[in-house]
Symmetry: C2
Subunit: 392 residues, 2 copies
C-alpha cells in the first residue's frame, strides 16, 4: 500500500461520549478516516473525566479522541441539531452512543441521506441504560476473578474497549455493503450483548449449561499450567499452552527428575494439558522454589532461548518509564496538556503512523461549517454570536 492510511477519504460524524463510541471513532481516525466529533457547546459529559493532567484538562478525553476534528453546537436547540443532522447527511456515516434526539434519529437522518450508515451503541438491547461497571457485575467475570472474598472488578473497562472495536468493525462492514450495493444500513450494538457474546464465545456459558460453571482460580490459567510466582525481587507470570513449552520449562528449571517422580506418585500424565491443570498446585509447589530463589534477571537468564512464555509484572510507573523506543509510541504536544508520549494505532500498515493529538474542544467548528456545509463567514459568525455554534 502506498498510503499508510487505508481509510483516507472516509468521513464520519461521531456524536459520542465516554469510552466505547469515542474509541471506535478514534480507531477509524487512526486508519485515515476524517472523524468529526460533534459535542455540545462546552463539551459532553466526558470532557472533564479523570484522569486529569496537572493543567486540570482530561487525559482521558485527550487519549480517546486523538486525530479527530472537533465541532461544538448547541444540541439542545433544534437549530443546533439541524446543523449536526446536515453534517451527518453530508458525511454519510454516523457513530453515536447518544440517545436519539429530535432530528438525529437514524430514520430522520436516512430521510436526508438515503444511503446513510448509522451505528448506534446502546447500554442494553432493550433500550435500558448500562455502563461497563454494571454490565461487568452482571457478566459473571468478577465472581471468578481473584482468589477469594467478594467479586473483584476489572480495573480496565473491558466491555467499553471491546465494544468500541466491535463498533469500528461493524461500521466498516456496513460501509463495505454500501460501497458494493449503494444501500445504507442501521446497526445497533448493545454493551450488555457484547459481554454476553464474549462469555459465550470463550465457552463460559456453554460449560455452565453443561453443569460445570467456571470455578475461581486466582492467578492460575484454566485448563493448562500457568500461574504467577514470586521471585527474589518481584513477581512473574508463567504460562504453558503447548507440550513443547511444558517440556522446555521442566528442562530449563532442572526439575525433570522431581517432576517425573511427582507424576509417578500422583499417577498423573503431565504430558497433557488436563493433567497439568488438575495437578497445578503440586506442579506450582515444585516450581515455586526455583523462581523464588532467583531475581527476575536470573529467571530471564535461565529461560532464555527456550519456548517458555513468561513476563515480569510491571506497574504503570514502570510501563511509562519504558515507553521510549517502543515503535508504537510517539511524542505529541497535546493542547492544554503538554508534551507526552502517546500510542499510535496498533494496526500497522507498512510503517507505524505516528500518533496525532486530540483536537481542542470546538477547534474545527468554523472550518467544518465552512468546508463541509458551505456556510458563509457571516452565517458562521451569526451562529456563534447566538451560541448555536461554539467557539474553539
Amino acid at each position: 500500500m502506498d498510503a499508510l492510511l487505508p481509510l483516507a477519504g472516509m468521513r464520519i460524524v461521531e456524536i459520542s461520549s465516554f469510552v466505547a463510541a469515542p474509541l471506535g471513532g478514534m480507531t477509524l481516525a487512526q486508519l485515515g478516516a476524517e472523524v468529526i466529533r460533534v459535542d455540545p457547546v462546552g463539551g459532553g459529559p466526558d470532557i472533564d473525566r479523570w484522569p486529569l493532567a496537572p493543567s486540570g484538562r482530561s487525559l482521558y478525553w485527550a487519549g480517546l479522541n486523538k486525530g479527530k476534528r472537533s465541532v461544538t453546537v448547541d444540541l439542545r436547540s433544534a437549530e443546533g441539531r439541524g446543523i449536526a443532522a446536515r453534517l451527518a447527511a453530508e458525511c454519510g456515516t454516523v457513530l453515536t452512543n447518544a440517545p436519539p434526539r429530535g432530528g438525529l434519529g437514524p430514520d430522520e437522518l436516512a430521510a436526508l441521506r438515503p444511503d446513510l450508515v448509522h451505528v448506534q451503541l446502546l447500554g442494553r438491547r432493550d433500550g435500558g441504560t448500562a455502563v461497563d461497571y454494571t454490565v461487568n457485575a452482571a457478566s459473571g467475570f468478577p465472581s471468578v476473578t481473584g482468589r477469594d472474598g467478594a467479586p473483584v472488578n476489572h480495573a480496565l473497562p473491558v466491555w467499553d474497549v471491546v465494544c468500541g472495536l466491535y463498533l469500528a468493525a461493524g461500521l466498516l462492514a456496513a460501509d463495505r455493503h454500501r460501497l458494493r450495493t449503494g444501500e445504507g444500513s442501521s446497526l445497533r450494538v448493545a454493551l450488555d450483548d457484547v459481554a454476553l457474546a464474549t462469555a459465550g464465545n470463550l465457552g463460559y456459558l456453554a460449560e455452565a449449561q453443561f453443569g460445570t460453571p467456571r470455578e475461581r482460580l486466582g492467578n492460575h490459567l484454566f485448563g493448562e499450567f500457568g500461574r504467577d510466582f514470586g521471585t527474589a525481587d518481584g513477581r512473574v507470570m508463567v504460562a504453558v499452552v503447548t507440550g513443547r513449552q511444558w517440556r522446555d520449562l521442566v528442562a530449563a528449571t532442572g526439575l525433570r527428575d522431581v517432576v517425573e517422580a511427582l507424576e509417578r506418585a500422583l499417577g498423573a500424565d503431565f504430558g497433557t494439558a488436563g493433567g497439568r491443570y488438575r495437578h497445578r498446585e503440586a506442579i506450582g509447589g515444585v516450581l515455586a522454589s526455583w523462581f523464588g530463589a532467583r531475581t527476575c534477571a536470573e529467571v530471564e537468564d535461565g529461560l532464555r532461548g527456550t519456548s517458555v512464555l513468561w513476563s515480569r509484572y510491571r506497574d504503570f510507573g514502570e510501563v511509562a518509564a519504558e515507553l521510549d523506543g517502543r515503535p508504537l509510541v510517539g511524542a505529541i504536544d497535546q493542547p492544554g496538556i503538554g508534551r507526552h508520549l502517546a500510542p499510535g494505532s496498533p494496526l500497522v500498515f507498512g510503517e507505524q503512523a505516528p500518533p496525532v493529538p486530540a483536537p481542542a474542544l470546538g477547534e474545527h467548528t468554523a472550518g467544518i461549517l465552512r468546508d463541509v456545509l458551505g456556510l458563509a463567514e457571516d452565517e458562521i459568525e451569526d451562529l456563534r454570536a447566538r451560541g448555536v455554534a461554539g467557539e474553539p
Copy 2:
C-alpha cells in the same frame, strides 16, 4: 439493508489458533463472510483446549469458530502448504497468527495474488512470543486490580479479545482500500502493542508520565463515585457517571440530609465528580447501610424509575440460567457436543442473525478443494489417501 449480513461475498482464509485470530475471523463470518479456517490434519494446538463438553470435545474451539468452514491439510509438507497458498490466493484475504512457514509468508502469497490482503497477528512487535497472560502481567493492569496483596490477573483473556476485534477492523479497512484502489496490503498487529495502546488511550500512561500513576482502588471507580455494596441477599455494583445520577442516588436512598451534612463537615463539594471521588470512603460508608438493609429486589424497587446505574453481581451459573429469551442467543446443535444456547453476533443489522454452529474439524475439506480450487474427485481422493488433505 435487504440482507442481514453485510459481508456476503467476502472470502477469507484463516490459518489460526487460540483466541484472537479465530475471534477476528468469527466476527467476520457472523457478518456474512465465508471464512475458511485451515488447520493441520488432526487440528491445531487449540483443538482440545479447555473448557471441554461432557463428550470431551472443546467448547472453547466450538465457541470461537462458529459459522466457519473447516479445511485440514498437512501443513508440515510443501504440498499441503501449497494447497493452503492456492486457497489464500483464490480467496484474496488471509488472517493468521501462525509464524510464516515456507510458501505462506505475505510476500510469497502476494506473488500469487498481487492484491492480497494479509493480516498477521504477532505476540510482540519484535517477533518475540507472547500470550495474553504474559502481556497482561507486563501491562500494569494486574497491579491495580483487586484490593491488596499480589497482582490480580483478569479471568477474561482481555487482550486476546480486544486484539481479535482489532484484527477484524484492520482487515476490513485494508479490504476497503483494495475495493477503492485495487491495491493489496500487509497488516501487522502485535498483542503487546494492543495492550500498550489501550493503556495509553485510556490515560493510564499519560497520568503516570505526569507523575501520578493510578493507585489500586479495589472495586471503586476512578474519578467518580462507584463501588460494590453488600445487600441482605447478595451484592450489587453502583456507578455514578453524571451529576444527575448522583442526585437521583441521594434522593432515592432518602439520605439527602446526611449527605449534605457530610459535605459541610468535610468542606467538600459532592456536586463534582472529583469531590465525590475524593470522599468515596465517607460517601460509601453512608450508603452502605441503605444497601445492606435491603434485598436485591428491594434495591430494585427503591431505584426503579431513577437514572441510577446499578446491577446485581451474577455468577456464570446464573448467567447461563437466564439466557433463554435474550435476543442475542439461540439454540445450536454443535457436532460432537450437542444442543446448547450460544450467542450470535452483537452487531445487529435489522434483525438478530441466529448463531450458526462451528464446523466439525475438516468438514469442508473436499468441498472447498473441489469448489474453490477446482480439483477433481480423484485428485482429492489421492490427496486424502496420502494424508496431504484430511478427512472430516
